[in-house]
C-alpha cells in the first residue's frame, strides 16, 4: 500500500439498519479533493471513518500508511475540522487551540508558537483572548480551522469549512486550501457550493446514497459521462452558418443560438469529432471564431447528470 495515499478498500459503515456508506473503494492522492453529494449521501461518514471517529463495519482504511484504529499515529498527521459547532466551555480562542496542542504532547513554547501561528493564519489574532462562546459563527468556524491545522498535519479534513464565512474570509480560506494542496498535503473538503468546489479542487468524489458515483479530475469524470452529450459554447461571426454545417453531422444533438446572436451552444455526443469538423469549417468558410469552451465541464453539471435533483440513482 502506497504511503502517499488515503485508501479505502471495500469499506462499508452501517448505523444499525441505516446505510452510511457501502462498498466504497477509493484512492486519494495529494492535492485538494472535494467530496460532493446531497445531504445524507455519506460525506461526513467518510470523513469520520478517515479520521478514526468511527470504525468501519467492513473493509480497511489507510491514511498515509496509518490505520484510523491507531489514533496515536494517525492524529499526528491528520487534522479534522468537523461540522459540530460546539466548544469546551470557558475557553478563549487561544486557549482552545493551545490546550489541545498540549494534549499532543508538545512543550509549552511550541504549543504557544503554533497556536499563535494558526490563529494568525485564520485571521483571529485580535480576538484570540475572547471567549469562543462570544464569537460570531464565522469566527467559530475559523477557530475550529485553526485548531485543526495548528499541529501542521499532512492530511487536512474539512467538513463544510466555508459555512458562515463572509466573502473575504471565504476567498482567504480557498487560497489557503489551494496553497496546502500545492504543498503536497492531502486536503479533503466537503462542500455544497459547487462553483467553489470547481475553484478549489484538483479532484472530486461524488457520493449519492452511500455509494461513490464518480471520482477523479472533473474533466476526466465529465468525459466518462457518455450518456450526456457534451455542451460546447462557440462564439463566432456566423453562428447560423456553423449551425447549418453542424446539423449535417450525426453526433450533434442540438444547436442553439444564444445571447447577442453570436453565441452558439451545441450539444454533441463526440466532442473530438466536433473539434475536427470545426477546423474544416473554419478553413473552408473563413469563419472567425472568437472562443470555443466546454459549457458543462464543471462539478455542477456533473452533479446534475450523475446525482440530479432527486439525489440520483446509483
Amino acid at each position: 500500500m502506497s504511503s502517499n495515499l488515503i485508501t479505502f478498500e471495500n469499506v462499508s459503515r452501517f448505523y444499525g439498519e441505516v446505510l452510511g456508506i457501502n462498498r466504497v473503494s477509493l484512492s486519494i492522492p495529494p492535492g485538494v479533493t472535494s467530496l460532493v453529494g446531497p445531504n445524507g449521501s455519506g460525506k461526513t461518514t467518510l470523513m469520520n471513518l478517515m479520521s478514526g471517529l468511527l470504525q468501519p463495519t467492513e473493509g480497511k482504511i489507510e491514511v498515509l500508511g496509518a490505520s484510523p484504529s491507531n489514533p496515536e499515529r494517525l492524529c499526528k498527521i491528520l487534522g479534522y475540522c468537523a461540522q459540530f459547532d460546539a466548544f469546551p466551555k470557558g475557553l478563549t480562542g487561544y486557549k482552545f487551540v493551545y490546550a489541545y496542542l498540549c494534549v499532543h504532547g508538545m512543550s509549552h513554547a511550541e504549543c504557544d508558537e503554533r497556536a499563535r501561528t494558526a490563529l494568525e493564519l485564520v485571521g483571529l489574532t485580535g480576538a484570540a483572548n475572547r471567549l469562543v462562546a462570544a464569537y460570531s459563527k464565522g469566527m467559530r468556524q475559523r477557530v475550529k480551522l485553526a485548531q485543526a491545522i495548528a499541529h501542521d498535519p499532512k492530511v487536512i479534513v474539512l467538513d463544510e469549512p466555508l459555512n458562515g464565512l463572509d466573502p473575504m474570509a471565504r476567498a482567504e480560506a480557498i487560497a489557503l486550501f489551494r496553497q496546502w494542496g500545492e504543498q503536497g498535503r492531502h486536503v479533503i473538503v466537503s462542500s455544497h457550493i459547487l462553483h467553489e468546489v470547481d475553484r478549489i479542487s484538483d479532484q472530486v468524489i461524488l457520493l449519492s446514497q452511500g455509494y461513490v458515483v464518480a471520482e477523479g479530475e472533473i474533466q476526466g469524470v465529465r468525459s466518462e459521462v457518455k450518456d450526456q452529450p457534451m455542451q460546447i459554447l462557440v462564439r463566432c461571426d456566423q453562428p447560423h452558418l456553423l449551425a447549418s454545417r453542424l446539423f449535417q453531422e450525426d453526433h450533434v444533438v442540438e444547436a442553439v443560438i444564444q445571447g447577442d446572436g453570436r453565441n452558439l451552444l451545441l450539444r454533441t455526443k463526440d466532442a473530438d469529432s466536433f473539434y475536427l469538423m470545426l477546423n474544416r469549417v473554419v478553413l473552408e468558410t473563413g469563419l472567425t471564431v472568437e472562443s470555443v469552451a466546454p459549457a458543462d465541464d464543471d462539478v455542477n453539471s456533473v452533479y446534475q447528470y450523475l446525482i440530479g435533483a432527486a439525489g440520483g440513482a446509483v
Binding site: G52, L53, P71, E72, A99, C102, S107
Partner: protein, 277 residues
C-alpha cells in the same frame, strides 16, 4: 511512563481542571463539601458562647461519636456519594452531551491515557474538596474543648481517628470515582446506575454477609475508627458482620478501582463519536 505520556496527561489534566474545578456549574458540589465544615464551625462558635455562660453540654467522647455518625450519614451516604457522581459521571457523558469529545479523540493521545488523565483530574478535584472538608470538620467539631481537644488529638486516639477518616474519604473518592467514571462512559443516563448503587448501599446493613461485600461502603465502613449502629426500629433487621481487615479493604478497593479503570480504558479504545445517541 515516558516524557511524552507525562506531557499528554498533563495537557488533559490542565483542560479538565478548568472544566471541572473552576466551573460555575459545579457550585452544588462545593456546597456539599463546605456544608459539614459550616456545621462544625457553627458548633464551635455556639459552644464558645455556651462555655462563656458556664454551660458545658457534652464531652470529647460524645463529639467523636457524633462525628462518626455524621461521617457515615452525611459524608459517605451524602456528600461524597453525590459529589463523586457529579464530578466523575460528567467526565465523559458531559463531553458527549456538549459534543466536544471528538477534540480529544482527534489528538494523538492513547485513549487509555485520556481515561487516566480525566480520572486523575476528577480525583484531584474531589480530593481537594472533600479531604480538607473531612479534616476541617473533624478538627473544628472539638475545637471548643481547647486544651482537652489538643490532648485528645496528640496524646489520645484523635490523630489516628483523623487519619482513618481522611483515608476513608480518599478511598471513597477513588472507589466511587471509578464507578461513576465507568457509568458515565457506558450509559446514556448514569443517574439510573447511581440510583441503583445508592439504594444497594443503603440496604447494605440488612444484606447477608456475602452480599454486603459486593459494595464500596462495606469496606469504607470497615476502615472507620468507630462503628455506628443502625438506629431502632431498623436495628432488628440489621445483619451483624465482622468488618473487613485493613489489609483486605484498602488493597481491595484500590484493585476494584483499577479494574474499573482498565475496563473504561478498553471501552475508550473502542469508542466512537456518535452524538446523535
Amino acid at each position: 511512563m515516558n516524557a511524552l505520556w507525562m506531557r499528554q496527561i498533563g495537557g488533559v489534566l490542565s483542560l479538565e481542571l478548568k472544566r471541572t474545578a473552576f466551573s460555575k456549574r459545579g457550585w452544588w458540589i462545593y456546597c456539599l463539601a463546605a456544608a459539614p465544615v459550616a456545621i462544625a464551625l457553627l458548633h464551635w462558635l455556639a459552644e464558645l458562647n455556651h462555655s462563656r455562660g458556664g454551660m458545658g453540654s457534652h464531652t470529647v467522647g460524645e463529639d467523636s461519636v457524633i462525628f462518626a455518625g455524621m461521617f457515615l450519614l452525611f459524608f459517605l451516604r451524602g456528600s461524597l456519594f453525590f459529589g463523586m457522581m457529579g464530578i466523575f459521571s460528567n467526565l465523559f457523558r458531559g463531553e458527549m452531551l456538549e459534543k466536544t469529545l471528538h477534540y480529544y479523540f482527534l489528538t494523538p493521545i492513547r485513549r487509555e491515557l485520556l481515561v487516566a488523565g480525566k480520572y486523575l483530574a476528577g480525583l484531584s478535584v474531589s480530593l481537594m474538596l472533600f479531604v480538607p472538608s473531612t479534616a476541617l470538620t473533624f478538627l473544628l467539631l472539638g475545637r471548643h474543648f481547647g486544651a482537652a481537644w489538643t490532648d485528645y488529638l496528640v496524646h489520645g486516639p484523635g490523630l489516628s481517628q483523623l487519619g482513618s477518616y481522611v483515608l476513608v474519604t480518599a478511598l471513597a473518592c477513588i472507589g466511587y470515582g471509578a464507578v461513576f467514571l465507568v457509568c458515565g462512559q457506558l450509559t446514556k443516563n448514569p443517574m439510573i446506575a447511581a440510583a441503583i448503587v445508592w439504594v444497594w448501599e443503603g440496604l447494605n446493613p440488612f444484606l447477608p454477609s456475602l452480599m454486603k461485600q459486593v459494595s464500596v461502603i462495606f469496606y469504607l465502613k470497615s476502615l472507620c475508627p468507630m462503628e455506628v449502629p443502625v438506629p431502632p426500629p431498623f436495628s432488628i433487621m440489621a445483619v451483624e458482620t465482622d468488618p473487613a481487615a485493613t489489609w483486605v479493604a484498602v488493597p481491595g478497593l484500590l484493585a476494584v478501582a483499577l479494574i474499573l479503570l482498565a475496563y473504561a480504558a478498553i471501552s475508550a479504545r473502542q469508542g466512537e463519536i456518535s452524538y446523535s445517541d
